[in-house]
Symmetry: C3
Amino acid sequence: MTDTIQARLTALGIELPQAATPVANYVPYMITGDLVYISGQVTVWDGKMHYTGKVGSDLSVEDGQQAARTCALNLLAQLKAACGGNLDRVESAVRLTGYVNCLSDFTDHAVVMNGASDLMVDIMGEKGKHTRAAVGCSSLPLDSAVEVDGIFKLA
Amino acid sequence: MTDTIQARLTALGIELPQAATPVANYVPYMITGDLVYISGQVTVWDGKMHYTGKVGSDLSVEDGQQAARTCALNLLAQLKAACGGNLDRVESAVRLTGYVNCLSDFTDHAVVMNGASDLMVDIMGEKGKHTRAAVGCSSLPLDSAVEVDGIFKLA
Amino acid sequence: MTDTIQARLTALGIELPQAATPVANYVPYMITGDLVYISGQVTVWDGKMHYTGKVGSDLSVEDGQQAARTCALNLLAQLKAACGGNLDRVESAVRLTGYVNCLSDFTDHAVVMNGASDLMVDIMGEKGKHTRAAVGCSSLPLDSAVEVDGIFKLA
């Protein structure tokens, strides 16, 4: 039983951030039945915003992928909290919706969102595969370059 | 049993609008298992659009919050209809997605969306807490300042 | 038992496209419990993009409706694959989210999205009715005029 999600995180040298607590009347995650709904995550890290601005103009597509990866790490931090610290209680990812902050002529939303999708599979293997939508937004909260929300299934 | 949702509505002096019926091939709500999916609600009130235009330019952030609150009241009207008139059949809010009509330099989407989140908790207490995403849209149907869709859980 | 979904497709002369396989770390559909989540579908047809650009400026609203219909046909192709080829295993549509690629002064998102909603009901009858949200995006992947994702319920 060494091939756990925690073991993969360690092998990849990835430390999840602290799961942030919203300072408003909503919650970061909610379990209903065997599904975990997770609120939209932006590019905050250690309490500061990283990767702000428009992907494709202020930021390169590669930076956009790192922004999407940061959102995905924040999703996993919330998911871990929802699982009481044990990510191996997750059966699979189900849905990610990725919002890319960009100008009206941007077309590489899917490439940007791969930064989140690849992280999920790097860490969770086949369990990390998910359905997704990727769309463009003319603006996002706190000027985040990307926002991603998610639904996961518990075992 | 005085602390019902209907009692809170009365105490707060809030009268829910009539649940509007779509005039197209979709439905305002659908129950599947113990979840109620509710279609995206805009800032219509008594059959007329209120709070149209871009939040942060045509409208202040405070007006944007009122717009989000209006969408939330319309969500609750649909939820009440889904519950056969008895909101106390609701176990909890699960997910709100808030779309804010704004320009590309807007960053206060979360503040705007608090207008919807606060209403949920004002009316439903702890049951009103939910996961959410808030994003920016360059335009919305009928120039609505905000649109919010939702998922709720029945007891 | 002639009034099956496949019979309607035949009667309407509609041939579903091949269900496309994503070339990234996500999947086109996922079944969890009795729900089928389907990834966001764009206006690809036979491997080529149709209906690209902004609805209301590059494209007419009528073309936008055809774009939404194309996305809906792609959703049904994925749904059919999820059902092992038998669409009559579907109990109902549950949720469609429609993203319309348009400029900031566009207001006819609902009219555009009717292209997808009408198709669902044409093909699935009452089972095709769904909740939905329709919003405006300043850009979409591959410059698709519309993107639609969906959730369906199996019998």
